[in-house]
Structures are given as C-alpha cells and as structure tokens.
C-alpha cells in the first residue's frame, strides 16, 4: 500500500490530525513528520503568554504516526483486511518528556514495533525536533483491527 493511501485512511482531521507526511513504513518501523504551526489553538492556553506544546499532544502525534500509521500498514498486509475501515483503541502509553517543544517546529517521529499480536500493536516511539533534539520517548500500545460487517 502506498504511503498516500495510509494517510487517506487516517480517521483524523483538523484540529486533531498530527501527521503531515509518512517518510518510511515497513513491517517493523514507521517514520513520519508533523509541523506544529504557531496558529494551533491550544497554544493560546498552554501556557498563558508562554506557548509550549502539551505532552498529551506530543503523545498523540507519536501515537498517530508510530502506532496508527504502522498499524494501518500492517493490517493492510493481512488477509483479513477489508475496506470497511479500521477500529482503533489506544490501550496504554508510557512517555517521558525530555525537552520542551515550542510552536512552529517540525518534528520527526520514529517508531519501532515491539509486537503485533492478537490485534494489539505495541511500539517504542521517539520524537525529534528539526535540530535532532530528543523531545520525548516511550512505549505506546493499542488495538487495531479491521471492521468486519
């Protein structure tokens, strides 16, 4: 499946889509990019007069690239795949936040599969700024399964 098709299958849209581009996908890895534009609404409130990207949003960006894009790719490779869509549930995340990410920066998320068994995908994720600085890292898991009519 082409990366473009994966992007089109993502069930998110603005203001909650945190993937601009998929750079690489294979059976074990995903790499993608997203630019946190200065205009994003949450910067008005996190924090007052001092915009910093919230940890939950960094986690969401890691999950969309590292877990969902990889999961859609993996499920597209299984024979169960059908075009009815995909059920997604985040089951756990264990993240460490290393450096603050200020508005206007492009980030790269790198994800490595730990396992994909019984519809549960667990990945190790890392997010880097455009200056190659580690922003956050951790483990994220969720269920990804084809909807069967």
């Amino acid at each position: 499946m082409a990366y473009k098709e994966i992007l089109e299958q993502l069930p998110y849209t603005s203001p909650f889509l945190f993937v601009d581009r998929i750079i690489h996908l294979d059976e074990d890895n995903a790499v993608g990019e997203y630019t946190f534009k200065k205009e994003l609404d949450f910067y008005r409130g996190h924090f007052k007069d001092n915009p910093v990207t919230p940890g939950v949003i960094l986690t969401e960006c890691c999950a969309q690239i590292g877990l969902v894009c990889l999961g859609l790719y993996l499920i597209g490779k299984t024979k169960e795949y059908n075009s009815e869509g995909t059920g997604l549930t985040l089951s756990s995340s264990n993240m460490e936040f290393i450096s603050p990410l200020y508005p206007g920066q492009k980030v790269k998320v790198i994800s490595e599969k730990i396992y994909f068994r019984f519809n549960k995908l667990k990945c190790k994720v890392k997010m880097f700024s455009s200056k190659e600085e580690l922003i956050c890292k951790g483990e994220i898991a969720g269920f990804i399964k084809p909807m069967i009519e």
């Binding site: 089951s91 068994r117 019984f118 269920f143």
Partner: protein
C-alpha cells in the same frame, strides 16, 4: 507438571497485570480473568505473550478466546506440549 505448580507459575505471570485493588491471593484456578480479576483485554494479550515465552509454545486467536481462567490456560499448555 502438577496443576498446582502450573497455578503458582501462572500467578507470577498474572500478578504484574492485576489492577491495584485485586490481590493475587484471590486468584484460583477457576477465577475468570476479565470478570473476576478485572484484567483488561490489553493486559490479557501481554499475559498470553508471557505464557508463550514461559512454556515455549505458540498460541493462536482460537486459543486465546478459550483462555478465560487459569484452568483453561493449563489445559491449552498441556495440549500444545503434547504436539
């Protein structure tokens, strides 16, 4: 292996995935993982993977659907080991 030995080993596997308010002492061979021990389906997958590693077996979707209690797990381990 005796059933009691299996049960003690399974308790060690299950313990890290129990909710804080469920004590491992409460687990018997017939405790329902989800309904009685309150283990969620995400953690149940981790338990299944730990069972695979511990007993060097491979489990399929059909197997885990039948794994509702420790007794069920023991029966599946025994049947896989015979193969």
């Amino acid at each position: 292996m005796e059933k009691q030995e299996y049960l003690e080993e399974l308790k060690k596997i299950v313990q890290p995935y129990l909710p804080d308010d469920v004590l491992i002492e409460a687990m018997t061979a017939n405790s329902h993982f989800i309904n009685e021990l309150n283990i969620n389906s995400a953690n149940l997958v981790d338990i299944v993977l730990d069972v695979e590693d511990t007993y060097d077996i491979v489990l399929e979707n059909d197997d885990i659907e039948k794994m509702l209690t420790a007794n069920d797990v023991i029966a599946i381990i025994e049947s896989k080991k015979k193969l």
